[in-house]
């Protein structure tokens, strides 16, 4: 098994493809690379058709829980006379997770475009992007993208002359891990101390300002323009039957080339290690987590577990955010983290 053959088998550059273009974060370059083409196409369909398309694609939430995205959108009651909201969870804070920050840095307009399409589908005229405050560099890029989108008529009143209005606000978090939980995030966004709410009611009916709200992860929303352009069948040509599509795996720890590797869901750790240039010399894999530090640890026994929502669960862990952290046997072995 060589790195090249593994790369050809499992890599699926979709969301990460524009990252190669160093100024793809500017709107002019983004537009040259199919940018906002998905939005124009989405406006030719009805909101219900877009919800059905995302349902058909099998897209599942990339924030860790894996809830079907189209189903979540369809829970928003329509014709209820209340404002609807989209909140993008960019409070990337689960240790090990580091995919949304590079996405917002390298391709922020894919997030903005996904937001506009999503809001059109769920009939929302206001979206908030809640970004963790520690990553000011990413906040600046997203704020810049929002400004550019307003200037070009992709945001604001009567977008592209289609009679659809949308305002987007970028909000910086204040450093609380718990605000990555969606209801704590909503409280924080409303100006309260971020603490999880009791559920039910769910955000779909009582979310931001007690109105119907969709909360989705950055990677989920950034996937939407690609599904609109390529179609549900194309999306399902990647990944596995129950967990379709590409996924950004974040590999960190004792490998030669840590980083972001976008592969079809269901890729195994053995393949990921191969992509990442193998384990560092002199290091053996002792244990690893498939999706952030809150997912139960796996060992070298699980090298061939397919890393999709079902495979990780069957192995007794969780897919989480596909933040794959590899640890070696060490002097401390397991160590405690200082708690302040």
């Amino acid at each position: 098994m060589s790195a090249i053959s593994v790369a050809q088998d499992v890599l699926t550059p979709v969301l990460t493809k524009r990252w190669l273009t160093s100024d793809a974060w500017t709107i002019d370059t983004y537009e040259l690379l199919d940018g906002y083409r998905g939005l124009r196409k989405a406006f030719t369909a009805t909101p219900d058709e877009l919800i059905q398309l995302v349902k058909d694609s099998g897209l599942r939430g990339r924030g860790g829980a894996g809830f079907p995205t189209g189903l979540k959108w369809s829970f928003i009651p329509q014709g209820d006379g209340k404002p609807h909201y989209l909140v993008v969870n960019a409070d990337e804070g689960e240790p090990g997770t580091c995919k949304d920050v590079p996405l917002m840095m390298a391709d922020p307009h894919s997030l903005i475009e996904g937001i506009i399409i999503t809001c059109y589908a769920i009939r929302s005229n206001f979206a908030a992007i809640y970004i963790r405050g520690e990553v000011v560099h990413a906040i600046r890029r997203v704020q810049n993208a929002v400004r550019e989108a307003y200037a070009k008529g992709y945001l604001g009143k009567n977008i592209l002359g289609k009679g659809f209005d949308l305002d987007v606000v970028v909000h910086a978090g204040a450093g609380a891990y718990i605000c990555g939980e969606e209801t704590a995030l909503l409280d924080s966004l409303e100006g309260y101390r971020g603490q999880p709410r009791l559920k039910p009611p769910f955000p779909a009916t009582n979310g931001l300002y007690s109105s119907p709200t969709v909360v989705n992860n950055v990677e989920t929303i950034a996937s939407v323009p690609f599904i609109v352009l390529g179609g549900a069948d194309w999306w399902k040509s990647m990944g596995t039957e129950k967990s379709p599509g590409p996924k950004i795996y974040s590999i960190s720890g004792r490998v030669n080339r840590p980083g972001q590797y976008e592969c079809g869901l269901g890729t195994t750790l053995r393949q990921l290690i191969e992509l990442a240039g193998g384990m560092k010399e002199g290091h053996q894999l002792k244990f690893w987590t498939p999706g952030g530090s809150s997912t139960p640890m796996l060992t070298a026994e699980h090298l061939d577990v397919p890393l999709d929502f079902e495979g990780a669960a069957a192995a007794g862990s969780m897919l989480g955010t596909t933040a794959v952290m590899l640890q070696r046997p060490g002097r401390p072995g397991l160590r405690g983290l200082p708690v302040h």
Binding site: Q8, T12, P13, Q52, V136
Partner: protein
Amino acid sequence: MCGVLGGDKAYEAVSEHLGVGHDETTEDGKFTLEHAECLAACDYAPVMTINYEFYDQVDADAAVDIVRRLQSGTSPLPSRGARLCTFKQIEMQLAGFQDDRPSTTGEGPAGTPTLAGVRLADSVGVSVPGYDPNTPIPAVRPKDPPPAPAKKNEKGAK
């Protein structure tokens, strides 16, 4: 991940160099040290931040060197994004005000870990087949009943 890959050593070295611990400020009031829990940069681990700007892949020596340069009055260039600014300026940005310095969004290309996968894909000529941006969006007939209400098994995204 930072801690395991040498971040704790870097923290200790900086702590020793400055003579302060977590959440403490030096006597001259210029440096406040904080032991961060996680900065969402595991692929660049270990990282340190100064006024919220990132310095990627630092070890103990590099971390102390960056602090020394600050003490000598120079402004070490962060690994991503803008040059260092004052803490007050960063606070304004976090409060939602636009950074008024020119080209603060433009500086710094994406680092090697960010591009590791897509560069590999590019080098072996991988692209996802079957992509046609003109694929039609299937029509859906308008539904009579309203969409189903939220089900009890909806889970929160985390």
